[in-house]
């Protein structure tokens, strides 16, 4: 089945130690998104790629970076994780941008713990 896959499902890192979260999709969608979701809160958009075009949200900290080497894969890099970065990180895709294409398909998320 076509899907959005996130690895690992659970990630533990140490304070200040760089960590990379992975997302892949078999939907061949143009757009990939990264959201941060803290406990009992709504998902918050960090950034998205439209094809290779990177779009960063204005309030996304510089500590968060992303790479999309090809259509299928997108990575979230946290350069120096702090305790406040502990959260669920959700990857999503949509076929395109614009009101006819903006249904998003979410992966299961990666839960990040920072020690």
């Amino acid at each position: 089945d076509a899907m959005v896959i996130q690895n690992p499902r659970y990630q533990v890192t140490q304070f200040g130690k760089p960590v990379t979260l992975s997302c892949s999709q078999t939907l061949n969608h143009n757009v990939m998104y990264w959201y941060q979701q803290k406990s009992s809160q709504a998902p918050k958009l960090l950034f998205h790629y439209y094809d290779k075009d990177f779009n960063n949200e204005a309030d996304t900290p510089d500590n968060f970076q992303s790479r999309r080497p090809n259509t299928s894969f997108c990575f979230l890099d946290i350069r120096s994780p702090g305790l406040g970065d502990a959260a669920m990180y959700l990857c999503a895709t949509s076929r395109d941008l614009g009101e006819d294409y903006n249904e998003q398909f979410f992966g299961p998320g990666t839960r990040l713990t920072v020690l």
Binding site: Q41, A42, L90, A92, E99, N102, Q104, F106, P108, G109
Partner: protein, 111 residues
């Protein structure tokens, strides 16, 4: 800035009753809305959507109502089942910005 919000953080209903989850939005330019269901430990799952040229849309056991005059939408779940227990988010397409999520309502179904 403009935002999407929910009226109630929690809702408890008896199994078999109907559930109504409400959502307010403030961006009058928004013209596409989605309801998502998120179960514990999982990503959000699409339930139903509605465009601003409609005021009602029905799916299987779910209905979304949109009142553009007061910028309000609701999700109605008929004959609520234990499997409906989850957090429900409304979300909107806001200009060129991908989905903006509201705070979420936790639905608990009492057997």
């Amino acid at each position: 800035g403009e935002s999407v919000g929910l009226h109630l953080p929690t809702l408890s209903v008896q199994e078999g009753d109907n559930s109504i989850i409400n959502c307010a939005y403030s961006n009058s330019a928004s013209d596409y809305f989605i309801w998502y269901k998120q179960e514990s430990g999982k990503g959000p799952q699409f339930i139903i959507d509605i465009r601003s040229n409609m005021d009602k849309r029905q799916g299987q056991r779910v209905t979304v109502l949109l009142n553009k005059t007061v910028k309000h939408l609701s999700l109605q779940i008929a004959a609520t089942q234990p499997g409906d227990s989850a957090v429900y988010f409304c979300a909107e397409w806001e200009g060129n910005t991908p989905l903006v999520f509201g705070k979420g309502t936790r639905l608990s179904v009492i057997a």
